[in-house]
Symmetry: C2
DNA sequence: GTCTATATATCGATAGAC
DNA sequence: GTCTATCGATATATAGAC
């Protein structure tokens, strides 16, 4: 599976990964990875614990040694999904040179978020797909994470608008939902045959920022 | 509930709607309306036949007099959803004056599709939400409808591009998915508090066609 | 046609052997 | 820690009365 979970922080723990005693931790990871994989493809309802068990190469009942319920497992997959995307976006924004203009920051965030979904993380995909499908109490556990991440986008748009770099006649709330929604839907359709992630992301940022209409021919 | 199902054709059948003998048909409609209502809010997995029955003011078992299975009911809701959107979009395109340019046609289609979702049809909403959630054989039954509708969009974009009205540097397939995806996601977030449908649709078409960047100040 | 009552299947969850 | 076996809850679907 691809890299996920704890992406950028704590890369070094100083311990080898296979000392005796963390066989449990490794199985737990395998279950989570399998769950993210299956959830992102089948959604919540069509995913059986037996499907996850099969991918994780374990028997269904054994999952309960690591998780107290299907919902707890689901909640952790979702939490990892937002957390990963949040941290990856923030890290890339922090890498930008001091004084980078707000439009570039917005464009960067769009690029990174979309790439998290289409090429970087099963967890990000799973979380996007599961949002709106899971029972209310799971959604409730999760909504503060989503809200925190949503705030990043509110600020990105607000800052760019405050600079006068964005058109002033559009409602930023709706715009934010359209941008995030268009990216979210990529979970439903994107496959490698649709072209490299970089080119898909490029086309998307171009459309969002500059629109689809051809510029007047240079004379 | 709102108007749906058979929107534009066959408005007159020449029969009063309550002659004896079509009590059945009316109950069937009530069940379908209820199903569209519940599905569009809770999705496939969280929707119980008992939820639908409650909204339809009928007992759960009675549904089976009208539909042979939950899946048959689901499939009909989805079929009505695409069909409604397809016909509503086509009807509006046909109303445009002869010789209307392809960019205006594209813009019109976006406006109508989005309005179908946010203000016109529970069926359209339900279909959008259910896509990607339902079991494979339902999806399979349904995919030819979706493909046919997808072809409308392929053509709209292709025609506008052929005219030179669209930028030539973007992949139209990905662009199509982004546009439809952004609209689809409205099912997850749109509420009347987000403003009138007309204004949301306006902001969306503006972003898609002209982008978010502020035009240079007139001098 | 719609009801009540019930059969059947599925799946999440638990118990206990190893 | 992971297995097998099974329980129990839920919900689709059916049978039969009215």
């Amino acid at each position: 599976m691809d890299n996920t979970g704890t992406p950028l922080d704590e890369e070094e723990k100083g311990e080898p990964t296979d000392i005796p005693g963390n066989k449990s931790a490794k199985t737990r990871e395998r279950i989570l990875d399998a769950a993210a994989f299956v959830f992102s493809r089948k959604g919540f309802s069509r995913t059986r614990l037996s499907d996850i068990a099969k991918v994780a190469e374990i028997k269904t009942g054994s999952i309960y040694y690591h998780f107290s319920s299907r919902e707890e497992l689901t909640a952790e997959v979702m939490a990892r999904g937002v957390s990963y995307t949040y941290r990856t976006v923030m890290a890339r924004l922090d890498e930008l040179p001091e004084g980078t203009d707000n439009l570039t920051r917005l464009k960067t965030a769009i690029d990174v978020h979309l790439r998290c979904l289409i090429e970087r993380s099963e967890y990000a995909r799973a979380n996007t797909k599961l949002n709106g499908q899971v029972p209310k109490h799971i959604q409730a556990l999760h909504s503060s994470n989503e809200a925190k991440y949503g705030e990043v986008w509110r600020k990105l748009l607000r800052d760019a608008a405050a600079n006068g770099q964005l058109r002033q006649d559009l409602n930023l709330s709706a715009i934010r939902m359209f941008i995030l929604g268009a990216m979210s839907w990529s979970v439903e359709w994107y496959k490698p045959e649709n072209g490299p992630a970089a080119s898909v992301a490029h086309d998307f940022t171009e459309m969002i920022l500059n629109g689809l209409i051809a510029p007047p021919p240079a004379t």
